[in-house]
């Protein structure tokens, strides 16, 4: 019996020893990631390299819009690197030979991260080829809606790699204008913005049908030509977005763009790969181009905005913009553009823009039904989204879709809702 106890005692001893060893290792070497993160955060924030899309540090604000600045072309088609945010924005209302309608949007965004700029200058190596970032980050969205389908893609790129940007020398040489991100390209034959060819591809995200085994890649080739003049929004391109003028940008549009092109629907994600399931659709229609640059659009007060671009059947165009701000009344501005290109700036008192109702789309309530009144122009129209779900499910998501105009005037256009 004594021997048995000896064995059990030994077994217990061994077990306890083993557990002690394991426990001590666990205690000694438990990853102190919490502790590490707090100390490390202190260390890194002094030279933070966050890639945030907005700059909320007022000390590092980019160049502010100048009411005295004169917009000149082709110079101002190019990138304004000292401003925090910029976009080149195309929206198009298209239809094919069978009368099917399509809404198309293509946008290239540029964001400037001032922290990166200051740091890079201090430690950038002499070998600039190795440097994989500068202060600019690019994002591009491509969205095409048919009655039942939605193709959408998002791309990201950073400046200084070479796969995104704006090529063409401003001023001296006659290099043709180009905007590109990877193989999405806006290429002009001249130094000017238009005429141009826009090529991009995108992927199906919603079929509206049960069968998901459809060809899901869409390749778009559009020829864009300007049939009218450029329109400087606001006062000579200086566009104020809030009552206290704290939100302002430089903004111009090209609302008289004629479009014709081809949609190629296939299985392969490529610009030109013939496939058995390839289908080609000829499209044509109108497009509206915006370029805007600012450092004052996003701040703590900005809740979002609602933007309209309308092509009336009589050839006139309307741009209406409602800025929603914290603690302030919504600031509504717009521009009435005659068919000959002459413009009338609309101040908040000169137009009424109201959402008639909210429509449930997914888990959101969105104003897809509006009323616009411009008394001086005899405009009292109802603007309705032609398709309910035209939401772009991007990293920063927003609504961008075609609308139909009815009432005193008929037409079509685009509606953009942000901040919902």
């Amino acid at each position: 019996m004594g021997k048995l106890n000896k064995v059990s005692r030994l077994a217990v001893f061994v077990i306890v020893l083993a557990l002690l060893i394991v426990a001590s290792r666990a205690l000694l070497f438990a990853p102190k990631s919490d502790h590490l993160s707090s100390s490390d955060a202190t260390a890194t924030s002094s030279q933070s390299f966050g890639r945030g899309f907005s700059n909320t540090n007022p000390e590092l604000l980019g160049e502010v819009a100048d009411p005295n600045y004169k917009i000149r072309f082709p110079k101002d088609h190019y990138s304004h690197d000292s401003f925090d945010i910029e976009w080149w924005y195309l929206t198009a209302n298209l239809q094919d030979d069978e009368g099917n309608v399509y809404g198309l949007q293509w946008t290239l965004f540029r964001f400037r991260n001032p922290n990166v700029a200051s740091e890079n200058q201090s430690i950038a190596s002499e070998n600039s080829i190795s440097d994989w970032s500068n202060e600019h980050i690019y994002m591009a969205h491509a969205s095409v809606h048919s009655a039942s389908q939605h193709w959408f893609s998002e791309k990201f790129a950073r400046g200084n790699v070479g796969n995104v940007g704006n090529v063409g020398n401003v001023g001296v040489e006659q290099t043709p204008f180009k905007l590109f991100i990877d193989d999405w390209q806006w290429s002009s034959a001249t130094t000017g913005l238009l005429p141009a060819q826009l090529i991009f591809n995108t992927k199906l995200i919603s079929t509206g049908e049960e069968d998901s085994k459809v060809a899901d890649h869409l390749n778009v080739q559009l020829n864009l030509s300007n049939t009218g003049s450029y329109v400087l929004q606001g006062k000579d391109g200086y566009s104020i977005k809030s009552a206290n003028s704290k939100h302002a940008s430089h903004y111009y549009s090209a609302p008289f763009i004629n479009v014709n092109g081809t949609f190629t629907i296939s299985e392969a994600l490529t610009n030109s790969t013939p496939s058995n399931l390839e289908k080609q659709i000829a499209v044509k229609g109108n497009a509206w181009f915006d370029q805007e640059w600012t450092s004052q659009l996003f701040d703590q007060a900005t809740l979002g905005w609602d933007w309209f671009s309308l092509h009336l059947d009589n050839g006139d165009k309307i741009m209406a913009f409602r800025m929603r701000l914290q603690g302030q009344t919504d600031y509504i501005t717009g521009t009435y553009i005659e068919s000959d290109g002459s413009t009338t700036m609309l101040m908040p008192s000169e137009l009424e823009l109201n959402a008639n109702e909210l429509t449930a789309v997914g888990n959101k309530e969105l104003p897809l039904n509006w009323q616009l009144k411009i008394e001086s122009k005899g405009i009292d129209v109802s603007i309705k989204a032609t398709k309910k779900d035209q939401w772009n499910p991007a990293s920063i998501a927003y609504y961008e879709g075609t609308v139909a105009v009815s009432g005193t005037h008929k037409g079509k256009g685009f509606l953009e809702l942000t901040g919902y």
């Binding site: 990631s33 490390d40 430690i123 190596s125 392969a268």
Partner: protein, 835 residues
């Protein structure tokens, strides 16, 4: 002892299972650097023209948006020296450099499959489904890498190691050598992550501007048309290769894993020997109690069931402890294993995930089977003891019968081993053959113990009567300690075999290196400037080695240049060569080539065979005769040597230069290197230094083997010690008798030691030829099959004697304890006990 040996067995087995499965997980993982579904890679095939950012952006703009850039650099991690006077002074934390990897997360996030946008109206449906795949976790991480504050991702075990290496458990942030803080560490458990820290590529270049853009990953399958278009679009200096090189890696690494597994199993089996003896001891000590139970009417079956249940419970407990210890052991060993695998086989090895339940079940299962089997022998003996059956010695007829059985076993094992060794090629079969060789040795030993001992007895002079008696007692002992002696034999054989193998390898390596390294210095330098040009006015003779990689029969083969001068002709170490006296002139004329063993054995070529190879400069395929097969120890690559004159510097890479000259001229070269921005201290190596470094690396590699050899010997000695303890009671009357004749306690202890050492000595004598045979099998069969190269076996008598001495010393150290304990007992106690 029972628990200890079961725990050791379970721990060893678990550790090896964990190491093997972790490594294999990382090979088979389709993720590379957390990027899923990588099908191909684009890399540079030229040392002059590297992969650049521009190459990348051009390809992306052409529409190849599936390409993701990856940059890498190996760096140490530092921490701010709190005691430093200057702010920028840092202390190194890591012993092994970390593989820093930067991924172009922006491009990755642009892949539609990655971000996977879902229409708003369908989002609620998607949310309802549970998203719990590992790829989603890594996708989240990539998002964080791209958009959030700078972070760096690493495996929790690596972070544990790093924190453990911090001096005094400081929590200073980790930094670069210059003191720049590294990004915040986020841990992520992935089989693909090993000695790696992953971050966004921009962060990597910010911290390490000299990082190399190492490759472009191709994410997802490319259609044939698109692949063709990509090939056409690639500039000349870039190549597209399949990422499924993991298959080739796994062939190479499987031998490593097999080796580990074999060692673990060997250790397990030897531990089982201890279990047999420990259970014997246990039951022996309980014999009186068990006999009382029998007298009380408890049946033998009941007693056996109870004993067996106890063993099962102890085994399960030991397995649990062993698994826990084994996992810790694997963690401890993993940096070494990782480094070994990554350096030897150029694979990426991660920490892997361990399913504790699965491992527990596996190890418990094996341990249970083993310990139950091991318990049967002692239970059988107990059965005899409880049944009061006398341990009657076998009759002559029975003895002859058993002797015949043993001889038959020897013949069967030996024949099977011979057949397999001569006809089989599969590695696992060869390992079985090795085991059969050892088993046949065991049988031979058992069959010949009496004869051998009788022979030795004849040499003991008559004036040592006690020695003579002792040697006869040894003979009797040999019959009772068969298992322990076999365990010792196995340990000794494997010791001799492994030691001879390693020694032969070492000798061959030293000789080969000394022969091949004829130059005074060697320079390792890749890229610009070309050192031949640099050395032009210094008076040194520089021979560069130009290298190509060529496809041959579906594999990538090294095509290296070799100088044809007299000095280098003498330097070549041939395994086999053509009898032709014009060998070197034919080589110089480009009519023939030299190949290494790996090439010859791997593709099954012999001397004078003809091979079709591309010309090193023009790429034109021509026929070449194999003039010689050369030694190339340790290389996993197949190699072809052709004259230097056939190569074109613009087409080939050059990383190595052989330099000859007087010291003063070498100094001139040093100066020129410094001027060119090259570090002569790091790149210019004196041949003696190179030899020393190589042999140090060699010795370091085999430290583990040496350790394992000693451990195996120790275990065998322990097994013998257990057997001795069990037998001590049996021999007590004999010892009492001898002591009663006036022989001192010390003398009887020495005689006892002599008995056991005699047994071991005989086992060693038999182990010697089998050890040599084992060595031969390891070198010429297993090494050949696994690595396609081999080397001559060198049998060193001194080495064998050394092993004899070590083995006997280990046995002495272990068994001296029970012997001394027995000897310390007063004789009167023994007399009383016996009578």
């Amino acid at each position: 002892m029972l628990m200890a040996s079961l725990i050791i067995a379970a721990a060893g087995l678990s550790a090896v299972l964990v190491i093997n499965s972790s490594a294999k997980q990382s090979y088979s993982s389709e993720q590379q650097f957390l990027v899923p579904n990588v099908t191909q890679t684009i890399t540079s095939n030229s040392s002059n023209l590297k992969l650049t950012k521009q190459d990348y952006s051009v390809l992306r703009v052409k529409g190849f948006s599936q390409l993701i850039a990856v940059a890498q650099t190996k760096q140490h991690i530092y921490t701010n020296n709190q005691a430093a006077t200057q702010a920028s002074e840092t202390t190194k934390v890591t012993q092994r450099r970390i593989d820093f990897t930067g991924i172009d997360t922006f491009s990755l996030l642009s892949l539609p499959d990655f971000l996977n946008p879902v229409a708003l109206s369908e989002q609620s449906n998607v949310a309802a489904k549970t998203i719990s795949s590992a790829s989603d976790d890594s996708n989240q991480l990539i998002r964080q890498l791209g958009f959030g504050e700078p972070i760096a991702i690493l495996h929790p075990q690596l972070l544990e190691q790093l924190l453990g290496q911090l001096p005094d458990q400081q929590l200073e942030p980790f930094t670069t050598e210059a003191g720049t803080p590294l990004p915040k560490f986020n841990t992520f458990e992935s089989a693909a992550l090993g000695n790696d820290i992953i971050m966004d590529i921009a962060d990597l270049y910010r911290l390490y501007p000299n990082a190399e853009l190492s490759m472009l990953l191709v994410v997802g399958e490319l259609s044939k048309a698109k692949q063709d278009r990509l090939q056409e679009s690639l500039p000349n200096h870039l190549q597209l290769t399949n990422a499924k090189g993991a298959e080739q890696d796994s062939e190479l690494t499987s031998s490593f894993h097999l080796n580990l597994m074999a060692m673990a199993l060997l250790m397990f089996v030897v531990c089982l020997f201890i279990v047999v003896n420990a259970v014997n001891l246990l039951l022996n000590s309980r014999l009186s109690w068990l006999k009382i139970c029998r007298q009380l009417g408890i049946s033998r079956l009941q007693l056996f069931v109870v004993q067996l249940l106890e063993i099962i419970l102890l085994t399960l407990l030991a397995s649990f402890i062993g698994v826990v210890l084994g996992i810790e052991l694997a963690k401890l060993a993993s940096p070494t294993v990782q480094a070994t695998l990554e350096n030897l086989y150029s694979v990426e090895v991660g920490f892997g995930k361990v399913s504790i339940i699965g491992l527990l079940i596996q190890v418990s299962g094996i341990s249970l089977v083993g310990s139950i089997c091991a318990t049967f022998i002692p239970l059988n003996k107990l059965n005899h003891q409880l049944a009061q059956t006398k341990d009657v010695p076998l009759s002559l007829v029975q003895q002859r019968f058993w002797k015949r059985i043993i001889w038959l076993s020897f013949v069967v094992f030996a024949a099977a081993a011979y057949i397999i060794l001569n006809h089989a090629q599969a590695l696992w079969l060869l390992l079985i053959a090795t085991a059969l060789v050892i088993l046949s040795g065991c049988s031979l030993l058992l069959a010949n113990y009496p004869g051998m001992l009788a022979l030795i007895q004849r040499f003991i002079p008559a004036r040592f009567p006690l020695l003579q008696v002792s040697s006869k007692q040894s003979l009797a002992l040999s019959g009772k300690t068969k298992i322990a002696c076999c365990a010792f034999f196995i340990a000794a054989t494997s010791n001799i075999g492994m030691n001879l193998m390693v020694d032969s390898f070492r000798g061959a390596t030293v000789g080969w290196l000394e022969q091949r390294l004829v130059a005074d210095y060697y320079i390792y330098h890749n890229g610009e400037p070309n050192l031949s040009d640099l050395a032009k006015d210094t008076g040194v003779n520089v021979k560069q080695r130009l290298e190509n990689t060529i496809p041959f029969q579906g594999k990538q083969v090294q095509q290296f240049s070799y100088p044809t001068g007299e000095l280098y002709q003498q330097a070549m170490a041939f395994y086999d060569k053509s009898k032709d006296e014009n060998l070197w002139s034919e080589f110089a004329l480009g009519k023939g080539v030299l190949v290494n063993q790996q090439f010859a054995f791997g593709f099954d070529y012999k001397i004078n065979d003809v091979v079709e190879l591309p010309h090193p400069a023009t790429g034109e395929i021509s026929s070449y005769k194999i003039l010689g097969i050369i030694y190339d120890f340790g290389s996993p690559y197949k190699q072809v040597l052709m004259p230097l004159e056939m190569f074109d510097l613009s087409k080939s890479t050059c990383c190595m230069y052989a330099v000859q000259g007087a010291e003063s001229n070498i100094d001139l070269l040093r100066e020129k290197m410094l001027t060119a921005g090259l570090d002569p201290e790091g790149k210019l190596l004196k041949t003696e230094e190179l030899l020393a470094i190589s042999m140090q690396a060699f010795d370091d590699t085999f430290i583990i083997t040496d350790g394992l050899n000693v451990v195996t010997l120790l275990v065998a000695a322990l097994s013998l010690a257990c057997a001795i303890i069990v037998l001590m009671n049996d021999v007590r009357p004999q010892n009492m008798l001898i002591r009663s004749m006036g022989v001192s306690a010390l003398k009887t202890q020495l005689l006892a030691l002599f008995q056991y050492l005699l047994l071991c000595f005989v086992a060693l004598i038999f182990a010697t030829p089998f050890g040599i045979l084992l060595s031969w099998v390891l070198i010429n069969d297993i090494n050949y099959q696994a690595f396609s190269w081999t080397y001559p076996l060198i049998i060193s008598p001194m080495k064998i004697l050394q092993i004899y001495a070590t083995s006997l010393l280990v046995v002495t150290v272990v068994i001296i304890i029970p012997i001394i304990r027995a000897g310390r007992r007063p004789l009167i106690e023994d007399i009383r006990w016996v009578n």
